[in-house]
Symmetry: C2
Subunit: 428 residues, 2 copies
């Protein structure tokens, strides 16, 4: 196809969501064959186009913001929805950052010469078509598309309807950049304009959607996991615990709890509950509570905590199950490390837990027995993060056990394939 | 718990399928902590018990066979259902074989010292609870339980109702072996006695079932994939293709096609369709068809094939989509390698395809562009097999792209977990 023909295909088509999935599937074959250099060129072109088309993007975003205000969506949602020059520069920078990451496609995972001389290898290959269902955050539109492309995939996007106008322009900008590089623009699709039907097509697109990534609230994720018949990677909520063992050093206990709660309370790896083993409670509770309160944190404690520190709000059963995502934390005194782990089993979402302890036996028991995506001894829970782990970009943090667990980087958006080269071998 | 108390818990309980899932979940924690030596001891005890309880197993199996005959199930199903002394010895041998495989649990997948000194590692850990839904083959009951245990998991089984009596005794024998070794017998559960409700509980057991493996017909797998809200590993059907390129050597073409069809026609990696590139058709079709016919194979060919060889049954559109699993094969002449790959895209189930060619360019294109779990150049499709790949045991062959693709061994029945050891590090 010529660049002109490709550009022509960029114009909005009136068709069904399934047609778009089919076109994405066809385009995915060309994307899978792009070299690392070609993908880098396309991603840099997208980054440049985002900056040069900033005015058009901001104008569309203004429509979304106006509609959002009329509809009375909250201030924090409006803030997440807003794009300005600086944020668009940031988006472009993120795309360039993704372009600079190692290309996972083609990586030799393992290989062997079979007993009969067939040379066998397992290579990393793209999934094909990655679907994404997410909320009204236009930056996710660009993030996910860039990450999917760098991992060799086509992508079909379904964003929150409050960001519809922004997403339409962002997708158009990205598709034009593909076309200008002679790459099939159908590799980036949106099904936003089909409303619920777009999401439904993604969730039921067996044979067309290779993996579906929901990003957003627990409710959105639950809906996608429950309704989908295509494979889903679940990126989950974080009801994150810190256990203060009887042997916990004072300074580590205080610093780790405060950092895990306060450094960025709104994210999934922030701590939500502190469990203090009774033997250390008299020494640890008061200074930790006071340090938290100095940072503006409200401590929701059980009776034992309230008896050891001032200004504690009584905790209810509900507090143990709450992911506050705010300057609130639950605190409970437990009889033993076993009781702490039992509490975690009952209430954790399996994201991240940490123990503060000087006792190697307790550290190793905790690390071995707590069944979460990430477990730490004597470190902040805030380290469960693709950036901190050195992945460069983060698709999300998986709380499921299939395929990917914990922070996901580019390789987690790929599959593998077995390749065998023989010279006439047959099975005996 | 004493061995007596554990044995007491072996007696059948009247409860709900969800209660059993819950008990399996609790037991899974103990199984996850068993050392390799302990697991080997339990598996050898199970193997011994199968042999020593053979009479009881055969008696229960006789009930199933009688019921099966009354219900008029077919001869091949009856044969798959049948257990005798030799087959029970074979089952015990398979369990001992699983016990001898490397323990995947604890394997260090990767690790690093983080920028701040936290020592980070990704370790292989058990899934927790593995569910299995399968048809009336009592050997699968023992196979899956042994593999799940060796990978550190508890297992909840739902077998075909025609094998109910056999499965009940097999599960009882295995549970008693666990209890006799002081291992929580609840780690092996059946929900056969709940009928459809048992399967439904497995498919909807979010938070209790970590992964569900369907094994059996395409219909069973489709039902499980569509209905489940827990993660599923899809083990799929094999509509397997062989392409004979214009440059295919005569002997490789003939030997590979015959082997891939005839050596064991009833399995998923057996070839079902041969695509011959037109330029080579006059040379290749007749000898390949004749070699197949000498082995008793019925060739369903298009007009071009029929014009080049005798005794060819006319192929219909349906033949291209059929997984015969019998001494039948479809054969079609295509204009080019591109057309062959287009046919494969349209009809393949993504299991295995092979090309026979002397042209390195065509071999490499085929290996790169055909999107199947396993692709071969110049080797039989029958090699897509856990045993052939050296895995020792096979859980099934995954045709999905998430988590596992192709033959699955013990590591594919595990997840991973990030473990970080620090000394007070917090995030800046």
């Amino acid at each position: 196809m010529t660049a002109d023909a490709l550009l022509a295909s960029v114009t909005t088509q009136t068709d069904t969501p399934e047609d778009r999935l089919r076109r994405a599937k066809t385009a995915s074959r060309a994307i899978a064959r792009l070299t690392s250099d070609e993908k880098a060129a396309v991603l840099h072109a997208i980054a440049d186009a985002l900056v040069s088309d900033a005015e058009r993007i901001i104008a569309a975003n203004a429509d979304d913001l106006r509609r959002g205000e009329t509809d009375g969506i909250g201030a924090s949602l409006l803030d997440r929805l807003r794009l300005d020059g600086a944020r668009i520069d940031g988006l472009a920078g993120a795309v360039r950052q993704v372009a600079s990451l190692p290309d996972p496609v083609g990586e030799l995972v393992r290989g062997q010469r079979m007993y009969n001389g067939v040379m066998l290898e397992q290579r990393r290959v793209p999934f094909g078509v990655v679907g994404a269902i997410y909320e009204a955050r236009p930056n996710v539109t660009v993030d996910i598309a860039a990450i999917a492309l760098q991992a060799g995939n086509a992508v079909v996007l379904r964003g929150g309807s409050a960001a519809r106008s922004s997403n339409e322009v962002l997708v158009d900008v990205m598709r034009r950049s593909l076309a200008a590089h002679g790459v099939d623009a159908e590799a980036i699709q949106t099904v936003d304009d089909f409303g619920r039907d777009g999401a439904r097509a993604l969730m039921h697109g067996r044979g067309l959607v290779d993996v579906l990534v929901p990003r957003g609230s627990a409710g959105l994720i639950e809906t996608v996991v429950t309704e989908s018949t295509v494979p889903v990677i679940e990126t989950g909520a974080g009801n994150v615990h810190i256990v203060l063992d009887a042997s916990a050093p004072d300074d580590w206990a205080r610093d780790i709890v405060v950092n895990a709660k306060v450094q960025r309370p709104s994210v999934c790896n922030a701590a939500e509950t502190v469990l203090v083993v009774r033997e250390g409670a008299a020494r640890l509770v008061a200074p930790v509570v006071e340090a938290l309160q100095r940072e503006g944190v409200t401590v929701h404690g059980d009776e034992a905590v309230a008896s050891l520190a001032g200004g504690v709000v009584p905790a209810t059963e509900e507090d143990w199950a709450t992911e506050y995502l705010s300057l609130d934390i639950a605190m409970r005194v437990v009889d033993s490390l076993d009781d702490a782990m039992e509490h975690i089993r009952a209430y954790s979402t399996g994201h991240t837990e940490s123990i503060v302890t000087a006792d190697v036996r307790n550290a190793e028991r905790f690390l071995a027995e707590v069944d979460s995506a990430a477990v730490f001894a004597n470190a902040s829970t805030r380290f469960t993060d693709g950036g901190e782990f050195g992945f460069g970009a983060e698709v999300g943090i998986s709380t499921q056990k299939l395929h990917a667990r914990g922070p996901m980087g580019l390789p987690e958006l790929t599959s593998t394939k077995w390749v065998g080269r023989g010279s006439g071998q047959v099975r005996g």
